[in-house]
């Protein structure tokens, strides 16, 4: 604020000046859990979902993913790892899809050097016993560069939260995924994590092993489950991971439910609308016209 020159304050306020002040305000408010417009976004690579998110998941912010039920932790971790894969191969503005929000994305294309795109996966030991540990040979298939993944196990929930907070503050980390049971974490803890995320440049992701509806400081909450196969598909080969993704909380836009498939070659989510008529979300999807 002190940097604002005196002469400009006496000049007639222009639209540009107001816009600048607005941005400054936004930046000031950012640590409070509302990431300002200036923050970079991690797009999911799908216009419908990214549209609902206003471009993608904000970096320097906390997000939550919950498994639809405990048996579906693998599906939820698949979703989280797919996001991690997108983080590792950060494309920023170069994504193939062109539409209105993408244009905005272009305008503030953020370059993220490879050295800052490390992913840290933190899990409670209990959960690893219950749900299995990440298996290296599979990560490659999702598109994760295992060289840039660090796994941390902790005996107690407290240590998971501490490790997440520390990792979120590190500038060399692009994404921090903390796997935990929903019961042990309260709003103070999520608030701390959100603040830590706002201070760094990493995307914080809490991966709950079961759904939870407690209030939290996260910007979005996803409930991820496995999408059941259609009758027509019985007896056929098993395709790419197909997930039922429900955006259950979104501070920046509408909610929605999608059935998505992870395209590991192009590293983006694709809507599996052909298989499930209910996939259409209850909001306007301008990209449809843009593509046509």
């Amino acid at each position: 604020m002190a940097a604002a020159p005196l002469s400009s304050s006496s000049a007639e306020p222009t639209a540009a000046r107001i816009e600048q002040l607005r941005r400054q305000l936004g930046a000031l408010e950012a640590p409070g859990g509302h990431p300002g417009e200036c923050s970079a976004l991690l797009a999911l690579g799908n216009p419908a979902i990214d549209g609902a998110l206003g471009g993608g998941l904000g970096l320097s912010a906390l997000h939550e993913i919950a498994a639809a039920r405990e048996a579906e932790v693998a599906a939820a971790s698949g979703f989280a790892l797919a996001l991690a894969a997108r983080m590792m191969s950060w494309r920023g503005a170069s994504a193939a899809i062109a539409n209105s929000w993408q244009a905005r994305e272009d305008a503030r294309a953020v370059s993220l050097p490879a050295s800052t795109r490390n992913v840290i996966w933190i899990a409670e030991e209990f959960s690893l016993v219950e749900n299995g540990a990440l298996y290296g040979p599979a990560l490659d298939g999702i598109g994760i560069a295992s060289e840039r993944l660090i796994t941390v196990t902790a005996a107690r929930m407290r240590d998971v939260l501490w490790a997440m907070e520390e990792s979120l503050r590190c500038r060399a980390v692009g994404m921090v995924i903390g796997e935990m049971r929903p019961r042990g974490i309260d709003q103070v803890a999520t608030r701390r994590l959100a603040l830590a995320a706002a201070g760094g440049n990493a995307l914080g992701l809490i991966l709950y092993t079961a759904p939870d509806d407690a209030p939290s400081a996260a910007v979005t909450r996803w409930i991820i489950g496995a999408a059941s196969p259609l009758n027509a598909e019985r007896g056929h080969g098993i395709g790419p991971p197909r997930l039922l993704a429900r955006l259950a909380r979104n501070r920046r836009g509408p909610l929605g439910t999608w059935i998505v498939e992870w395209n590991s070659v192009e590293q983006r989510f694709e809507l599996a609308t052909h298989s499930e008529p209910v996939a259409g979300a209850a909001f306007d999807r301008p990209h449809r016209t843009a593509v046509a």
Partner: protein, 502 residues
């Protein structure tokens, strides 16, 4: 020149003896001063001693406890020198060459050591001599006042001592005694060849070692650090902040030494010597050579936080020593190149996480050269790794060439047996199965992928047929049948759950 101190200890509360079985007899092994005044001596039969003094308090020996005490004392002796060796059953050897002057000379060091032992309620004898043999002989058998006088000639000092002081076997000592040879002086000038022929080479070797004619190495009980810095306190410190401040000061001193040699620390140990003789050792590792005192302090902050109450300062620490256990060449760093800074930031994070949670809990995934699923990948402490060793490039090439099927995202630590498996054809995928009490109806399946165990070892067990199946809810599993139906004569095949797909 190398100096040594050999010490001896005994337990000493009220009139008390310690006994133990030697041969068929319960013998007195150690006695306290009060018992000595009663006319008892070590080596006496317990029955005889009890006949003489029916009220005698006798406790059976506990060799483990003795060894532990000896080890604890040896630990406390590290305050004098890093070269400390345990000389069982009752001695500790210190190599004080080059460090005696720090305590005001050999005599002062010995006095300080004895005073410390006395305060701990231990009666000890100590002697300084030029060889291990001479020091041990003087401490155990000598009149400390005269024999420990380092200025006198080793021959002269050893001559009046009994032959047992040469660390010989009992039989040798007894055989020599039968010939009237009782003191070391008796054999010093005898012809060597007949002595060796009659009593073995050991006699001559022990004599030569005591006289310094043959070198005897000291085997330190702990590795000798490459660098160390220490600070002693007149007023013992107890607070964590004081310890950390001290760590930072010591690290600053180490930095000078490390920089001079172009090294950085990979593993550091902080030894805190408590006034009552206990020693706390706290080690931290780093993922890259480290010199920065602030960073060293930060690591110990995490370590101390993780240890919590385990660091019991008692009445305080009066000596702190920071040593570098592993050092590595550390290139001087440039500042301002983004990538390097990020890497350094990541390394610092790994170090802090490792210090707090434990080295093994912060890991990287590494590909291993094995076709058995659970052996194909491993977690290796992130601190120990450099990216070149991960092996994923090799794995990717192999995967592309072999057309490896998609693997499950999460692998269970141990394959879990599944029950009520119902397969349509004997070698086909299951149509339904029960796992963790839930019944799963399979709608889609891929497989089998047969993975044989290694024929040259038992590793991996019988052949496995893996199936990738999906149930009605869309859950995807990786399960296998161990054993083939054609081998049912041996044992029926069993089914296991091994992994979960997204």
């Amino acid at each position: 020149m190398t100096d040594r101190i050999a010490r001896q200890w005994r337990e000493a509360p009220s009139p008390l003896v310690v006994f133990g079985k030697r041969g068929n007899l319960d013998l007195l092994l150690a006695i306290d001063v009060a018992a000595e005044r009663l006319g008892l001596a070590a080596g006496l039969a317990l029955a005889q001693a009890r006949a003489m003094h029916p009220t005698l308090a006798a406790v059976p020996e506990d060799q483990d406890a003795d060894a532990r005490l000896l080890d604890a004392i040896a630990n406390a002796c590290h305050r004098y020198t890093p070269l400390v060796a345990v000389d069982p059953p009752d001695g500790i050897l210190l190599d004080i060459g080059g460090c005696a002057h720090l305590f005001g000379g050999e005599e002062k060091l010995r006095d300080d050591l004895l005073a410390r032992m006395m305060r701990l309620g231990l009666s000890a004898r100590a002697a300084v001599a030029a060889t291990i043999g001479a020091a041990s002989a003087a401490a155990r058998f000598g009149d400390v006042a005269t024999t420990a006088d380092a200025s006198r000639d080793a021959r002269e000092r050893l001559a009046p001592l009994p032959l047992a002081a040469l660390r010989l076997s009992d039989e040798t000592v007894a055989a020599l005694a039968r010939l009237g040879l009782k003191r070391i002086g008796d054999i010093l000038d005898l012809p060597r060849a007949p002595l060796a022929a009659r009593f073995g080479a050991d006699l001559l070797r022990q004599m030569d070692r005591a006289l310094g004619r043959e070198d005897e190495p000291l085997t330190p009980r702990l590795p000798i650090p490459h660098y160390l810095a220490e600070k002693s306190f007149h007023e013992p410190i107890t607070r964590e902040e004081d310890v950390l401040a001290c760590v930072e000061r010591l690290a600053a001193r180490l930095k000078t030494a490390l920089t001079a040699r172009g090294d950085g620390a990979r593993r550091l140990e902080l030894a805190l010597f408590r006034t009552d003789g206990a020693v706390k050792r706290i080690a931290v590792g780093t993922s890259r050579p480290l010199r920065d005192p602030q960073a060293v302090r930060a690591l110990f902050v995490e370590r101390l936080a993780a240890l919590g109450d385990e660091i019991d300062p008692g009445f305080g620490f009066d000596l702190a020593r920071l040593s570098v256990l592993n050092a590595e060449t550390c290139a001087d760093e440039q500042i301002g190149l983004g990538t390097r800074e990020d890497q350094a930031g990541l390394d610092r994070l790994i170090d802090r996480l490792s210090a707090r949670l434990g080295r093994r809990r912060v890991s990287r995934l590494v590909a291993r050269d094995s076709h058995i699923p659970e052996l194909a990948a491993a977690s290796v402490p992130a601190q120990a790794m450099t990216p070149a060793e991960f092996g994923w490039d090799t794995f990717r090439r192999f995967r592309a060439e072999a057309g490896l099927s998609q693997r499950p995202l999460r692998l269970l630590a141990k394959p879990e047996p599944i029950a009520e498996v119902f397969a349509l054809v004997p070698d086909g995928p299951p149509a339904r199965f029960r796992w963790r009490r839930a019944l799963h109806e399979v709608v889609r399946a891929e497989g089998p992928e047969r993975i044989e165990g290694a024929w040259w070892s038992e590793e991996g067990g019988p052949a496995r047929d893996y199936f990738h199946v999906e149930d009605t809810a869309g859950l995807r599993f990786w399960l296998f049948r161990a054993g083939l139906y054609r081998d049912t004569a041996l044992s029926p095949p069993r089914w296991f759950m091994h992994g979960l797909y997204a």
